[in-house]
């Protein structure tokens, strides 16, 4: 069997506590009127209180290994991203302490700990950072490339992203959720072949607070561009896409993007936007798991995953289910 890098499994773990958009607004955790966010399709978000990002990462990765019956020692590489270093290991309700980054405590990395605690004895570890909501897309690209070039058989990609409990829950009109996502990239497999990937980074937008309006304006044209590139790599025409598996940003923004791509809205798998909110850790993959498990996506269907990492990163994946 020739190499067909694929997504060999997905699992996720949300923070336990779910709050409605109205509750978040009443608690002063939103910058916009809750009605605006509800108008954009948001209903609930998961808010970590006692959990730490690391705990959710362990939960997601452990669940994946267990469900897929993966022997931990069979994992060649662990790619970890998300809430940085030691901050990942403290509960969300403990105020973030910048001092942690100024001492040797900064080297208490969650990735190494995860390798140890999950028993990934053979796995080497790489960390991914600074990609915001597209960490897992970056991980998939790296994992796929290493499968093809170094012959790795199995790469475990994990991302866990939190906002501190005291922080707001809104990021540019999106209601955010605390969660961890684990996915397995395998060198070959019968399902969920990675048919194409593309990423565009526009470093000009690094100062995302100062350039917010420019970023909003550039979002759609760059999204269309990166999607077209990913589909071109896959050899697909836009109209051949059976399902668009979104990141859970404003539903309206997705309707606009579907219009620009010339795709009917019915092909957008959007139910989780209201239920889950926007999990920075990688809600495209949460949605993909739910869509697969719910039977909405059938084997062989062509899937498009697009996400934007706030600031400078637009990414897309073409996956053949």
């Amino acid at each position: 069997m020739s190499d067909r890098p694929c997504l060999g499994g997905i699992a996720y773990a949300f923070a336990d506590e779910a709050r409605s958009v109205a509750e978040l607004g009443a608690a002063g955790l939103l910058t916009s009127d809750p009605a605006v966010l509800e108008g954009f399709g948001f209903g609930h978000a998961h808010v970590a209180v006692a959990e730490s990002p690391y705990q959710l990462a362990v939960a997601a990765a452990g669940r994946l290994l267990e469900e897929r019956r993966i022997a931990p020692e069979s994992v060649d590489l662990l790619l970890y991203g998300g809430t940085p270093g030691p901050l990942a290991q403290q509960p969300a309700d403990v105020p973030w302490n910048g001092g942690l980054l100024q001492t040797t405590a900064r080297f208490k990395y969650p990735a190494a700990r995860l390798q140890y605690e999950l028993g990934l004895e053979r796995a080497t570890v790489l960390g991914l950072d600074q990609l915001a909501c597209v960490t897992l897309f970056g991980a998939v690209r790296v994992a796929r490339a290493l499968c093809l070039t170094e012959g790795l058989q199995r790469v475990l990609c994990v991302a866990s992203e939190f906002f501190p409990a005291a922080a707001g829950r809104e990021a540019i009109f999106n209601c955010t959720s605390d969660a961890a996502v684990a996915l397995l990239v395998e060198r070959s497999g019968p399902r969920n072949r990675i048919a194409g990937a593309a990423q565009v980074t526009k470093g000009y937008y690094w100062d995302c607070d100062a350039l917010r309006d420019e970023i909003v304006a550039s979002y759609f044209p760059t999204a269309v561009h990166v999607v077209e590139r990913a589909l071109a790599v896959a050899g697909w025409l836009p109209d051949e896409v059976d399902w668009v598996i979104p990141h859970n940003v404003s539903r309206t923004s997705w309707e606009i993007l579907m219009g620009l791509l010339g795709l009917p809205r019915a092909r957008l798998w959007a139910g989780n936007i209201a239920r889950r909110g926007h999990a920075l850790a990688g809600d495209n993959f949460i949605n993909l798991r739910d869509a697969l498990q719910g039977g909405d996506v059938r084997p062989g269907e062509k899937l498009l995953l697009f996400a934007y990492g706030y600031g400078a990163h637009w990414t897309a994946l073409a996956v053949e289910a």
Binding site: S32, V36, G39, F40, F173, K202, Y204, D213, E214, V216, A217, S218, Y219, F220, P221, T222, V224, H225, S250, T252, S253, E255, I256, G259, L260
Partner: protein, 350 residues
Amino acid sequence: MLFLTGATGLLGGAVLSRMLRADRALRVAVLVRDPARWRGIERVSPVAGDLCAPGLGLAAEVRAALARDVDLVLHAAADVVFSRPLDIARATNVEGTRRVLELAHAWPRVERVLYVSTAFVAGRRTGSIAEAEGNGVAGWVNAYEQSKWEAERLVRAATRPWVILRPSTVVCDDPAGGAVTQYNAVHHAVRLLHRGLVPMIPSAPDATVDLVPADYVAGAIAALAVHEGLAGRTFHLCAGAGALAVGDLLQSTWEVFARDAAWRRKALPRPVLADLATYALLERSIDATGDEPLQRALRGLSHFAPQLALPKRFETAGADALLGAPAPPVSAYWSRVVEHLVAVRWGMAA
């Protein structure tokens, strides 16, 4: 004597200069709000008045003198701001035209009334647009278009012989230099593009942008104003077949912008072309966020950009035949216009 409205505007002023040069015996009365501010031009008499005032606000003795002398009326004044509410646009463009026509009717020597309209009275119609009356059924993109169409109806019903001249959007002074004296919505849109604040443009795949230089339009009006035998005819003063495809216009614009290394390094994306429904969804979405800079940017586009999603081609055969040549193709000078705008920073350069 020629009675001219709009002489203080870019087009009206250029028409005046040309007509004075062409006819050394011509005398002109120009309607201005403040004669004291009128630059002195030989054979031109400023008369105080206002399109929005009854009888154009002309003093009785001035009105009597004009009644004795005027044999040609050229009505070029208009409120050309696309974003005006309809009642405001009508006050100047419709009621002002009504008052001009009433005077033309009352002045016994008037042989002809020329009305400077706009090609965009075609509004939301698509396809080939003939140099003739439109029925207005399709509606309009903005109040300016509607008010000019309503004014045309008054002109067509006038008692004096009339000629209607319909320029498209004037985008520069002359094609050779690309300089811009009078800024309008198109220049504002190019500025928004330069700043990276335009996510999408409502446009059909086959849409074109019809633009004309002021010197072409002024020359055409001056020539047709004195041409005999045109009563009851309408002429498009447009690029017509020389209009530029929206995609080509964006490409050309980006090429000029990208000559600046600092701008190029930003890698600003070119706007995508969207259908009207998708563009409207974006507008509603931005409105819901209350994001003022983007709201301002979109509002600046929304009063005219939807025309790009209503592809049309203005027929120009009648005007071309009389003038001997079509308007210069937009592709021949658009880059120079953008170069000029960038160089003078949209009028902000010292």
